[in-house]
Symmetry: C2
Subunit: 397 residues, 2 copies
């Protein structure tokens, strides 16, 4: 936290937080109010050079109430129950500090002005709310100089957006579903830091939004209420997958990591389809991406790539740096004209030939993918000195 200005100081703290893409998916709440999940989940936090939310939290007696949030230069509401739960939890922790040490400024009583921006297009349908809530919680915690560790803060982030709790940590992160009714044990846990297995990469195929698509409106609670297969997923399939995935990460066993990842994505989307009315997130482009991954694994004679899909058509393809040419090369050949290849990782990869068995799937991808993102496993939130609120308390451009 730093303070600028004299009479009515502007207190500021800034952070960046990563997007995370789950390899074992969160879907279904056992307690919607507290955002307690039906099953545990596990994700990879992605490199913030490619995908991150940058947030400045500031407060000042010169600000007028209520608290405000500006995201990508547009005002966003903080009035919902979820952001309010986060803000009041953080204020309560600050208030405790202020009571213990009366010399501290009474930041908990001041209006907040929060400014946030993403370094990736919001319309890309990436899990921006996770990075957004994680950055929000981290920035305010820094502003308030809270001593709590990321796992404790994840309890607060979870109430904002379930998967946000995983973005408070870098590397490989679990979110344990917990068993307590108050949610006190439903929080993020570091499975392994980035340094344990730094060669994990992700190629994201962002599906085109030009073609109008049939929308899916129903959400995860409809699945909990109507899918007859969901209970088996939550109670049997995911617990086994979590165990297998943690072992795979501990042993840096990519084949097992990939098998569990693909299987869990399929299982998650199967329960969506088993919902009444059925929920479809994958489209024909997604299906082509799955076949492309299957084909390249067949050619390699071993599993060197793993697809996974969140609640949308974008494919996220995990692979190891050592296999970048075999995995990414064919996609670069087919999708080389799309945005996203100019970064360091994309530029370094050659154009592979399109195998005959890939011709149809690559043509489908060419017509259905709008851009690619090349990234990899990354660190957790980072404090930064670049503030999005200036010394006078105005949003910086």
């Amino acid at each position: 936290m730093e303070a600028a200005g004299a009479e009515k100081p502007i207190y500021r703290a800034s952070t960046t937080a990563p997007v995370n893409i789950a390899v074992i998916k969160y879907w279904g709440k056992r307690d919607p109010k507290l955002n307690l999940p039906t099953n545990s989940s596990l994700s990879v936090s992605l490199d913030q050079a490619d995908l991150r939310t940058h947030t400045t939290a500031s407060c000042s007696s010169s600000y007028s109430s209520p608290d405000t949030l500006t995201l990508n230069s547009k005002p966003e509401s903080l009035e919902g129950a979820r952001p309010q739960a986060c803000l009041s939890s953080l204020r309560a922790l600050r208030s405790e500090l202020e009571e213990k040490d009366p010399s501290l400024p009474k930041l908990s009583t001041l209006p907040l002005r929060i400014v946030s921006s993403n370094n990736f297009p919001t319309a890309a349908g990436l899990a921006s709310s996770a990075a957004g809530f994680a950055a929000l919680i981290r920035a305010i915690a820094d502003l308030y100089e809270l001593p709590q560790d990321p796992t404790t803060l994840s309890l607060i982030a979870r109430q904002g957006s379930g998967s946000a709790c995983r973005s408070l940590l870098g590397g490989y992160v679990a979110w344990d579903h917990g068993t307590e009714a108050d949610g006190s044990d439903s929080k993020a846990r570091l499975v392994a830091p980035k340094s344990h297995w730094p060669s994990m990469r992700a190629l994201i195929l962002v599906a085109s939004h030009e073609k109008k698509d049939v929308s899916s409106t129903a959400g995860m609670q409809t699945t909990v209420q109507t899918s007859q297969l969901f209970k088996t997923r939550a109670e049997v399939v995911v617990p086994a997958a979590m165990e297998a995935m943690e072992k795979a990460i501990a042993e840096k066993d990519f084949e097992s990591f990939a098998k569990v990842t693909m299987r869990d994505s399929d299982s998650f989307h199967a329960t969506c389809l088993d919902t009444t009315p059925p929920i479809f997130y994958m489209n024909d482009t997604s299906r082509a991406a799955i076949r492309a991954v299957e084909n390249l694994n067949k050619r390699a004679g071993k599993i060197i790539a793993a697809y996974t899909f969140d609640a949308g058509p974008n494919a996220v393809i995990y692979y190891l740096h050592e296999n970048r040419e075999a995995v990414v090369g064919p996609f670069k050949r087919a999708l080389g004209e799309k945005e996203g290849w100019l970064g360091q990782q994309g530029a370094a990869i050659g154009y592979a030939e399109i195998a005959q068995e890939d011709e149809i799937v690559m043509a489908k991808l060419k017509s259905g993918v709008s851009r690619v993102i090349l990234t990899g496993v990354g660190e957790g939130p980072v404090s930064v000195q670049e503030h999005l609120v200036d010394e006078q308390g105005n949003p910086a451009d």
Copy 2:
């Protein structure tokens, strides 16, 4: 059976048999050799005026061995284990008759010449093998003048193609999975004849094959072996659905019929997606058909249409005759230029307006559907005098 020619008579019998479209799907074998299913299934036999296989079975000492099958003017092999199992079972039953009554001609010893034709395009991806095997079994049983009832013959048809056993009966037909190891109780059962609920109709949207699609090669046994959700479907979901469906048919309760139908289709495709590698039969066109059905049910304020998908992208939409305008009208407006509207049912239906919420889905259907078929619940196999083998034993043109 009739005999033509003098010295070496040509024995002939002809039948037609219906296509059936399941509302509770068969997927997964507990015994692949005997074609014993993991779960029971239930289907509607469709009107043979619209969809049928016409088969003539003939035999003669003037024919040379081996048995032959001509389907739609092309020779087809009878050498596989499945057709061989059917032929030898039928010959054994004929042989029993011949032993009991030595005056009977020894047809069981004569080569068979079987000629078959469908009144619908094979490429439409309809369940033609069910109608085909049912007609084959029925025609040979008639040729051999076998006294067995259709349910007993269904034991033989099942060994040719599982779902064929249901096409030996008309109306609403169950195939009970049975529990005997030899499959003796895994056979078709009449749930209700067509006359019980004659107003059931089906609109089939045949998906275009012009657009090359990503193929699915894996079959049902891969699901049995790899899907972690399949067991729940087979053991819990389907038994409850069978009970609910039989009740809905008994009570002519379309809403319940529709709910169970759609839910079972979704559940079946969910277990396909949960297979490793995932099996996709539905595509973006199928998804649009689902949304169109959901939208028209919403507009009606009650469920008047039910979608179901077999192992392919074609939508089969069940509805009652009284709701034909509300169900079929919007599709006729969107797809009126496609083949299939010229029959009596199609011509009688008006063009409804396309509702605003249907614009995207109908545009998707327009680009993805090649033809429509309007049909309804129909009768079981029918003996016919039109023979596809002439009195000299030659395939008739």
